[in-house]
């Protein structure tokens, strides 16, 4: 009895399957035509070509994955055709056949929802696999401080040169994480200030500033030139000493800083990139001495333009 039931159920399933298959065979498939010679139909792994076709070849569309059609391509070796994937941008809809999946009008087949990878490139997966890279960099820059009157008073100039370096981790998604350190040192003269008039006190005054920062950013992929933006926080390590100072009078302190960057980088060699970058830093309440009070300048941050040379892929 049990055996009989199983046999009957098996027959029923076979019958359903056969009728469905027949019905499927009877429905015409969407068809597309190859637009240019040497169009590659990729194997399902998308790593190796299945067949290379010339313009005019007609393919049956059996499905869609992202920017690719799942197609049956004619093959001289296989009468049933060869299964593979072709970029939507490289084919056009054959009039009279049903629309391929995802296309609602005649033109949709010719205008994929996302730009296809150029056929000459190694095709990206329908969703790009995340590729992580690490790069190191060196930088040099020139900064214009927000406390420009204070800088002018002590150093006779309202800017300073910076140098430093760091490393970044870039994710395939465009996100990157960056750690950097840079340094600046200047020697000027202590001053008296009254009613905006600066009088030199004749005493050498030296400062050094070493910002150590972490940045999160996003790099926009635009072929060879890649703009990027980022923001982060860090610490401004500050040191000041002067002639006649005893050790207890030296200032060694640090201030919390916040910054934002924007830049553009481009490849200059296989393993080397160059970038120009603008950086704005905000270091509130760092300057609180008489000079800062006289000029009402308390922010140690400013704007800096810098050039970076990055090494890595």
């Amino acid at each position: 009895m049990n055996l009989m039931r199983r046999f009957t159920l098996g027959l029923c399933l076979l019958a359903i399957s056969a009728s469905a298959s027949a019905a499927q065979d009877q429905t015409p498939r969407p068809r597309v035509r190859v637009l240019s010679d040497n169009t590659i139909v990729w194997r399902p792994t998308l790593l190796t070509p299945a067949i290379i076709l010339n313009a005019g070849a007609v393919l049956e569309v059996v499905g869609r994955r992202g920017n690719f059609y799942d197609v049956l391509a004619p093959s001289p070796d296989d009468p049933g055709g060869i299964r593979g994937f072709v970029a939507i941008a490289q084919v056009e809809h054959v009039a009279g056949s049903p629309l391929p999946p995802g296309a609602t009008r005649e033109t949709d087949a010719l205008a994929p929802s996302a730009p296809a990878q150029p056929v000459t490139q190694t095709p990206a997966a329908p969703r790009s696999p995340a590729r992580t890279s690490v790069r190191g960099f060196a930088l040099a820059g020139y900064g214009w401080p927000l406390a420009h009157q204070t800088f002018n008073a002590v150093f006779d100039q309202s800017g300073a040169f910076w140098a430093g370096g760091g490393a970044e981790v870039q994710l395939g998604s465009g996100l990157f994480f960056l750690g950097s350190a840079q340094h600046m040192s200047q020697t000027g003269e202590r001053v008296f200030v009254f009613d905006g008039v600066v009088t030199k006190a004749g005493i050498a005054d030296s400062i050094s500033i070493t910002p150590i920062e972490a940045t999160v950013g996003y790099r926009f992929v635009r072929s060879r030139h890649r703009p990027y933006v980022g923001a982060g926080a860090g610490q401004f390590r500050y040191r000041e000493t002067f002639a006649f100072a005893d050790p207890s009078e030296e200032i060694r302190t640090s201030f919390t800083s916040y910054h934002a960057i924007a830049g553009l980088e481009w490849r200059t060699a296989r393993w080397m990139w160059t970038a120009v970058e603008v950086r704005f830093t905000h270091v509130p309440n760092a300057l609180n001495g008489n000079l800062a009070t006289a000029f009402d300048e308390h922010n140690l941050g400013g704007v800096e333009t810098r050039v970076k040379v990055l090494f890595g892929k």
Binding site: R190, F194, G289
Partner: protein, 504 residues
């Protein structure tokens, strides 16, 4: 209050003993004096002037009884001045007025109350202001000499490290000591004085402070006493003050001064007891002048301030004051500051005596470039005598005998006090110097004057900027922030000289 008779007798009896003892035992220094025949001291005051001053001393008046200072409105000519003067009972001639700048001093013997005189003149449309010729007093309490060499005040101010930055200042800076004088000559003069029985001519020796190099004394002027360019200190106050400002330092002699390389301009506007006694006798008046620690008129003070400003001083020290506001003095200080001169003014010693507002110190509050200076003792606490008020701007060591006794006072070199103490001496001498302890805001003020001179030596030429730096770098004392006892706090010369760094 001592009686005059007791005072005279005591001096006569003790004279020989004291002179002998002091000469034998006092550790003092005296330069070699010129041996030429001594000239006479020349005075300009009349017997009436001296009588008026003696009257003021005896009656404890704060002004010369029959004198007023008058300033006429701009554009009033001599006939207009004469019209105003005709309002007075005595109808004085305008040509008899004695002028200093645009201020005239009027003497009117017919009206001994200067407050009435000045009120009558103020009623006249030609007069901008008229006020009594106020008497100022040097703001210190002289004491017997001692020989301690410990200057706690300079240690408290960290002067040794301040001198690392500015060793004594620059000789291009001149500090005017508008005070009882700083002796500028090594010479003897003859003078008339009362010997207890009659007026007698005596020879009085003077000497320059051996711890204040003579070549550092510039443009001396006497406005009150032996008028002229020879200045003699017959009291010791001005010399003590000048020593705090700039006594020679690092010369293995006596004590140190703050700005020991700057020039000192002795401007004498205050008469010491012996100035008054000699003038008294020179006027033919018998007897001893009433006991007093001396006095200065606001007219002479104003003259001295203007003279100093016009003759190259960059800093003026005013260790004097009184309870009456004098527009003449205020104008003079404003004039000086306008010419780039910083003015340090003693805040007054009236704290324990009613704490009346003191002038000209109180003017400093409204003049950027002039500072009223309070005093602290050895523990850097408010000195018992130091006047307080909203006009006090800064504090400096002035000494406090209640905070360390004699050693808690300010020690500097000045004329040997035992040589001219009117309580014991009838024939004084002013040619010997000793380390001497005084206390008072008179002693605090020259600390600020000296520090201002150091700052100006570093190129800070604007007096308002000097005041701002001194205030900004002061060490807060007392109630947080500015207060009436200490002003902005205790002056910090090293911090001030360091100026402002980038972050601190």
């Amino acid at each position: 209050m001592r009686s005059h008779g007791l005072f005279s007798s005591l001096r006569s009896l003790l004279f020989c003993l004291i002179v002998g003892v002091s000469a034998a035992t006092m550790s003092s220094w005296r330069p070699t004096l010129a041996q030429d025949a001594p000239p006479s001291l020349q005075f300009h005051k009349t017997a009436a002037d001296m009588t008026a001053i003696a009257d003021a001393v005896n009656r404890h008046l704060t002004y010369v009884p029959n004198q007023v200072l008058v300033k006429f409105k701009s554009g009033v000519n001599q006939s207009g001045q004469q019209r105003a003067l005709m309002a007075l009972r005595s109808r004085p001639a305008a040509s008899d007025l004695r002028w200093s700048g645009d201020v005239a001093v009027l003497t009117d013997a017919s009206q001994p109350d200067a407050t009435i005189l000045s009120a009558q003149l103020r009623e006249q449309p030609e007069v901008q202001y008229a006020e009594p010729n106020y008497l100022r007093h040097v703001l210190t309490t002289p004491n017997d000499p001692s020989f301690s060499s410990k200057q706690w005040n300079f240690q408290a101010l960290d002067m040794t490290r301040a001198w690392d930055i500015s060793p004594g200042g620059s000789d291009s800076i001149t500090v005017a000591i508008v005070d009882s004088g700083v002796t500028t000559v090594n010479a003897s003069f003859t003078a008339l004085t009362w010997n207890g029985f009659r007026i007698q001519t005596i020879t009085v020796p003077f000497a320059v402070n051996p711890d204040l190099s003579g070549n550092r004394l510039v443009s001396p002027m006497d406005f009150c006493c032996e008028v002229g360019s020879t200045v003699l200190d017959l009291q010791g106050h001005g010399t003590h003050v000048s020593s705090t400002v700039g006594e020679d330092t690092n010369n293995s002699l006596a004590l140190a001064g703050i700005a020991y390389r700057v020039k000192i301009m002795p401007v004498k506007v205050c008469a010491g007891y012996w100035d008054l006694q000699f003038e008294w006798s020179a006027a033919g008046l018998p007897g001893f002048f009433p006991p007093t620690d001396g006095s200065c008129t606001s007219f002479d003070v104003a003259q001295g301030i203007r003279y100093a400003a016009d003759n190259g001083a960059k800093v003026i020290n005013l260790s004097l004051g009184g309870p009456n506001a004098s527009t003449t003095e205020q104008d003079a200080i404003t004039y000086a500051v306008g010419k780039g001169v910083f003015v340090a003014i003693a805040a007054g010693n009236a704290y324990a005596d009613g704490n009346a507002t003191q002038y000209p110190a109180a003017f400093a509050k409204t003049i950027d470039g002039a500072m009223a200076v309070a005093a602290v003792g050895r523990s850097l606490n408010h000195a018992w005598y130091s006047s307080s008020g909203s006009y006090v701007e800064i504090a400096a060591p002035g000494g406090d005998d209640l905070d360390g006794g004699e050693s808690g006072k300010i020690w500097q070199s000045t004329i040997l006090q035992a040589d001219s103490d009117p309580n014991f001496i009838i024939f004084p001498r002013f040619d010997r110097y000793a380390e001497t302890a005084f206390e008072g805001t008179s002693m605090a003020s020259p600390h600020i004057a000296g520090i201002a001179a150091l700052l100006m030596s570093r190129g800070l030429t604007n007096p308002a900027a000097v005041e701002a730096v001194i205030k900004a770098t002061a060490r807060d004392l007392g109630a947080p922030g500015r207060d009436d006892l200490y002003g902005s706090g205790l002056v910090q010369p090293r911090t001030a000289l360091l100026g402002f760094g980038f972050a601190k």
